[in-house]
Amino acid sequence: MLTVLPVLTVLLRRALQAVPVLLGAALFTFVLTRVLPGDPAAFLASGPGAGPEAIEAIRHQLGLDRPLHEQLGRYLLDLARGDWGQSFITGQPVLSDLMLRLPASLELTLLAFGLTLLLGLALGTAAALGPGTWRDHLCRACCSVGSCLPAFVGGLCLIQLFYVQLGWVPEPIGRFDMVLVPPPPYTGFLLIDTLLAGDLTGWRVAAGHLLLPALAMALFSLAPLARVTRASLLTVLGSEPLRTATALGLPRRQIVLHYALHNALLPIITTLGLVFSYMLGANVVVEKLFAWPGIGSYALDALMASDHAPVQGFVLLVAALFVAVNLGIDLLYGVVDPRTRHLR
């Protein structure tokens, strides 16, 4: 009781704090899309034969000829009613488009994040335990390659090697094999849905489709995590408590995994939050390359076509996700470092 209540209060308070953030995001994107130079009507009427009257008719139909404050009022009112507008590039309501695509993005990002975590922590720890050895050089090489190679090039190399040359993975297109029947969408996460449906072949196919894009994303987000882990761990390993532990003859394994990593975790968690947020927003390139039906490529297509509603919806959704991620990170701080608990 006593331990649960503070967490609930924190959650509630943070949820309330998120409201102005989201409102701000909605306002900001509304203004931004109106200030952007593209005119959706001119884009829509792009068939030969569309003269000025046709463009004016479309502007009227889209409500773009009304005063700005009226458009904004309408937009906020619709948002409150759960209507995020209509996309004209897909011809569907934005909310259903986003909900259809969000699991794809999340599944990819989470898996890539998991890979980053495994590889980054392993590399960083290995490097910190033997500064100047081959493990340190390996870590440095991976970080350099990962941060220098644009995600597009890295992805292309992976496709060329694992798909075209070796044929180890299924074609790098979408989330699932188009011949197979996808599992019923309980969660939208194919790896979970296939298991729920007891479809092991499906699971393998989904995993195969996920592997390359996740690896491509992990490659470019690896560097910051590995570097921070290495630096943070080196500092901690040289600190007095750790030297005392060594002097007391505790096993090295216990020293590193229990005491050192624990103390080094705070900066790592901060970086993790950054890396995750960054991955969520910056995976457009990977989504495009692998024809991944995610929210990033959806928003980019919409932006190219002056399709305002999906862009606004995307920003709003990502803002909400960021709020959630930040909340998660803050709660994690509390778990890892008791000193930060009373700060709230």
Partner: protein, 539 residues
């Protein structure tokens, strides 16, 4: 504790290398009667009369709906077909006839045709569809170019006979009836979903196909993939061999190309010239370039503003462009050149044809001096980021070449979303782009690109003589007279240069080696009806 087990899993990173190769199930379905197409963009509507439909939607309309008539096709030396814009054959119409004065067209419908839900196709449904087409703005704009404007023009004579009455005989009526804008919808079905505010059921048709074409939509995932299944009771042609067709959106050209090479896809659309050349070199897939005559690549001048309001400046640029380098460097030689023509009286009355300009720097300098710009000038040169594959190298080559005659251009990359707006508002002094018209006839081309207060008049051109010539040509029935008018119009375009065409691009087809009888249409999408796989072809 949890933390520790969490870190321990680091050891299992080795699972990455477990082979997850293509499951055998992927090939379980017979490949001989299915086809898989990968494209860059996505269809966004099922309504052939809809506003703002994407180019890919035209492929959907072609396969899902029937029209009264369709274009005939001719076989090219490479073995594929291209549509012939001058000849037609029946689709829903068994036959048709024209009155002596060409003002009345009578169509006899086939008796056995039905829509996907089993409703028979009647003249009443055809009339309703055409009424709808001339009532909704997007299709109305196009069909008006063929004198189809009023519902009163369509009369049902009996359940299988439809009459179309025209104010005067129009050579563009039949071509328009063969376009997807004249698709026939299941009138009874759509009426059920119409409302008082939306009498033509546009909201419903956008998300629900109501056709009787050779294919039905089995599944539609917006922005991702569409699965078509053959409609086995289709009567408007020989039953297609392809039973199932999958259209998938794969934005990256490299990925489309890789899947085609591996044999996982059958057709990759919109591959840039470089990818096509690589595929041809490797020789694993069938790749061919089909000349496209209704699309052209050009640079345009704003003829209403300095310095390009002076025709000598435009001609100077035309003599300064590095045509051969441009064509080879930007388009890798794919397409047909529109420069270095002989000049004088045009030999043929077709358009676009090569302009009588080639690279002659001396002439360019002389013309600039005559225009009082011997010292050269500065201006900007724009292209759309969406078109960067071709435009970017072209812009750099043009920048380099024009510097030799003292014209200093700053290159402006314009975001794709903004491009249409800037063109519509005529804010660009000098730019490169590509465009196309529905029909190949020169007077149609000229009316779209060389006159009018709209985006498509890229050079903002206004020439009284040209306008008069085009008005005469519009209704001219004698071919020699028409040709004479057009040749004069072409000479004006050559001399005045509101835009300077560079080359005709080509439609690049890359497909699996066993896929035959592809037919190229105006819209560059895939018509599944004609495709044949393996040895089943009638070659």
């Amino acid at each position: 504790m949890q933390r520790r087990s969490f870190l321990h899993t680091g050891g299992s990173a080795g699972l990455l290398m477990t082979s997850l190769a293509t499951s055998p199930l992927a090939l379980a379905q017979s490949r001989t009667d299915s086809v898989r197409v990968l494209a860059e963009g996505t269809p966004n509507s099922r309504d052939p009369h809809g506003e703002g439909v994407s180019r890919e939607s035209l492929g959907t309309f072609t396969n899902v709906y029937d029209r009264l008539i369709q274009f005939e096709r001719t076989r090219l030396p490479s073995g594929v077909y291209r549509y012939d814009h001058t000849r037609f054959r029946g689709e829903l119409a068994e036959s048709w006839s024209s009155s002596a004065d060409g003002r009345v067209l009578t169509f006899k419908l086939r008796h056995d045709a039905q829509f996907h839900d089993g409703t028979p196709v009647t003249a009443e449904a055809v009339k309703w569809s055409l009424d709808r087409a001339v009532s909704l703005p997007a299709s109305k704009r196009q069909l008006a170019t063929g004198s189809l404007t009023q519902p009163a023009q369509f009369t049902v004579l009996d359940p299988h006979t439809l009459r179309i009455t025209l104010e005067r005989a129009d050579r563009y009526t039949l071509p328009n009836l063969a376009l997807t804008f004249a698709s026939v919808l299941n009138a009874d079905l759509v009426r059920k979903h119409a409302t008082a505010a939306d009498p033509w059921g546009t909201e419903w048709v956008k998300n629900n196909a109501a056709g009787g074409g050779a294919y039905q939509i089995e599944s539609w995932t917006p922005g991702q993939q569409i699965v078509y299944a053959r409609f086995d009771k289709w009567k408007s042609g020989a039953l297609p061999q392809i039973r199932r067709a999958v259209f998938q959106v794969v934005p990256a050209a490299a990925t489309r190309s890789a899947a085609l090479q591996r044999g996982d896809a059958d057709i990759a659309l919109q591959l840039p010239p470089r990818e096509i050349d690589t595929l041809v070199e490797q020789g694993k897939v069938f790749a061919t370039s089909i000349p496209v005559t209704n699309t052209f690549r050009f640079v345009a001048f704003n003829t209403r503003a300095k310095p390009f309001d002076d025709v000598r400046v435009r001609q100077a640029v035309a003599y300064a462009l590095p045509y051969t380098n441009l064509f080879r460097g930007a388009s890798l030689g794919h397409g047909a050149a529109l420069f270095g023509g002989p000049g004088g009286e045009p030999k043929q009355a077709h358009f676009p044809q090569p302009y009588p300009y080639d690279t002659q720097l001396q002439k360019a300098r002389q013309l600039l001096a005559e225009a009082g710009l011997a010292q050269g000038f500065k201006t900007s040169f724009s292209y759309s980021v969406g078109d960067a594959t071709i435009s970017e190298p072209a812009a750099l080559l043009i920048q380099e070449a024009l510097a030799k005659v003292g014209i200093e251009i700053s290159i402006e990359k314009v975001p794709a979303a903004q491009w249409g707006t800037l063109q519509t508002e005529k804010k660009l002094p000098f730019f490169i782009d590509t465009s196309s018209a529905w029909f190949n006839e020169p007077d149609y081309f000229f009316r779209i690109f060389f006159q009018g207060d709209w985006r498509w008049n890229f050079g903002s051109f206004d020439n009284a003589e040209l306008t008069r010539l085009l008005e005469q040509a519009r209704w001219e029935t004698s071919q020699p007279k028409y040709d004479a008018l057009i040749k004069r119009a072409i000479q004006i375009a050559w001399r005045e240069l509101p835009i300077l065409p560079l080359w005709l691009p080509s439609f690049e087809l890359a497909s699996a080696p066993d896929l035959k009888d592809f037919t190229y249409y105006i819209h560059g999408q895939v018509d599944f009806r004609t495709l044949v796989r393996g040895n089943g072809g009638k070659n």
